[in-house]
């Protein structure tokens, strides 16, 4: 059994949060550059130019890319031969989150659902983090992290279709969600689509799909084809960067598909803004 110190996890999480707040991932930067080149609307082209300039300023001056520094979302794969020495893994991730948001001058956006009171003074700074755990073989901990903003989360939706809806029904639904969203989720967006499983499994899969590198193709050829079809349909909507009208509404569509109940076809659409702040580390 390998032992990992509690404080090692805290520091690793703190550092990844601060890095993510200011440094746009290279895959996203490259995809935005390509979108700027391809965009036919001069207004949307200028918006993407500002987005790239913003990324350069944020990286060089260590300023947050966006004032919405998100809720902290983690997918954690814990090796079955790992033990955390000095505390619980969940506590270490929360402590690292609090330190990262505080030391990085990132906005605490967590509040109580109805009073809307900021929870800074009661349970910590932007806490609790949203953490999805899984147990895997091995002696390492793999942590995927995203700073998930509210604007794109607000337009995300899920629905359980009857099986007869099929691929056509799902494509129409994804189009409808993105069409209704317009410029609100800060396009050019990435669209995570969770298909199958149960209601909550589809939602979590749609979130996890957003972590996939933008330069990759789905390993399942059938899903890769469906992703390409959805991307074309979304870009045909004409929404453009920040809704100004244009040909590049989405950078990519990523699908995660799961087996499901014989009676159901659950679908979840989770939208990611252009400030796609995500990273991962292995301890």
């Amino acid at each position: 059994m390998r032992e990992i110190e509690f404080d090692v996890v805290v520091k690793a999480v703190r550092d990844m949060i601060m890095h993510c707040g200011t440094d746009l991932p290279q895959d996203t930067y490259d995809a935005l550059e390509a979108a700027m080149e391809a965009e036919k609307s001069p207004v949307s082209k200028e918006v993407i130019r500002q987005i790239l300039e913003n990324a350069n300023i944020a990286k060089d001056e260590k300023r947050p890319l966006c004032q919405d520094t998100g809720l902290a979302v983690f997918f954690v794969n814990v090796g079955d031969e790992v033990k955390i020495k000095g505390g619980l893994l969940r506590d270490a991730i929360n402590k690292g989150t609090e330190e990262g948001y505080t030391d990085g001058y990132l906005r605490a956006s967590t509040c109580e659902p109805f009073s809307r009171a900021n929870l800074k003074d009661t349970v910590g700074y932007n806490l609790p983090a949203i953490i999805h755990f899984d147990i895997v073989a091995g002696d390492k901990i793999d942590i995927e992290y995203a700073a998930k903003g509210g604007g794109s989360e607000n337009v995300s939706r899920a629905r359980v279709f009857p099986p007869a809806a099929g691929k056509d029904g799902i494509v129409e639904y994804v189009k409808e969600v993105i069409s209704d969203a317009g410029g609100n989720p800060c396009p050019p967006i990435t669209v995570g689509v969770g298909i199958g499983g149960t209601f909550e499994k589809a939602c979590i899969s749609s979130k996890h799909a957003l972590f996939r590198d933008l330069e990759t193709t789905n390993e399942d050829p059938e899903m890769a084809e469906l992703e390409a079809r959805m991307l074309t349909e979304i870009n045909n909507l004409g929404i453009g960067a920040m809704g100004m009208g244009g040909t590049k509404t989405a950078l990519a569509v990523h699908i995660e598909s799961n087996p499901c109940h014989i009676a159901s076809l659950p679908v979840s659409v989770n939208v990611q803004c252009h400030s796609s702040r995500h990273t991962h580390i292995t301890i």
């Binding site: 500002q50 300023r63 890319l65 966006c66 004032q67 410029g183 800060c186 045909n236 009208g245």
Partner: protein, 185 residues
């Protein structure tokens, strides 16, 4: 589409010449408010009480900035999604405000109020908080400090880049732009 440089407070003469799609560099004092602050401001207006700032000719920026680093006036400060202010904005425009800065579409009541009271809805680039924060040269919380990032701030902007989304004639760049690039299947 024209380019303008304007200084606050704005007049009807300023706003009526602007057309959806025009780009504007804003200068001068503007005020920040999100949902929670708007609710309090509109409650004050409806109760006939004094506001923490003069609405006449004012521009309201929908933003909740990150905390400033030591030595900076403000942190990153890009726009938040505007529809959450739709139920409050017509009252603000009716009482003298001339403009709003945010991102995303507005409802018909806001567009009508822009026509009725010579108001403009400006869009700033969402997610460009570092770039936009640098165009803010001073910031001071003037009301509701307990709201944290949602407090009302009086800020000074220099060449703050915005695009006219909804003008005083009822035009909407989101509808115009999208219609132009939509590919019908």
């Amino acid at each position: 589409m024209a380019n303008y440089t304007l200084t606050t407070p704005l007049t009807s003469e300023d706003t009526k010449k602007l057309v959806a799609g025009d780009t504007v560099l804003l200068n001068g004092t503007i005020f920040t408010a999100r949902d929670a602050a708007h609710k309090r401001l509109v409650d004050l207006i409806e109760a006939g009480e004094e506001l923490p700032f003069d609405l006449e000719g004012s521009i309201i920026y929908f933003v909740g900035p990150t905390p400033p680093k030591p030595g900076d006036p403000i942190g990153s400060a890009g726009p938040t999604t505007s529809y959450r202010m739709d139920s409050y904005s017509p009252t603000m425009l009716k009482n003298g405000s001339k403009g709003m800065i945010g991102k995303g579409k507005r409802n018909q009541a806001v567009k009508d109020a822009c026509m009725d009271y010579d108001g403009i809805y400006f869009g700033a680039t969402g997610g460009a908080g570092a770039l936009l924060g640098k165009q803010i040269t001073s910031a001071e919380v003037i009301a509701y400090p307990e709201l944290g990032p949602e407090a009302v701030r009086k800020i000074t902007v220099k060449d703050f880049p915005v695009t006219v989304v909804n003008d005083t004639k009822g035009n909407d760049i989101y509808q115009i732009g999208r219609a132009q690039y939509e590919v019908k299947s």
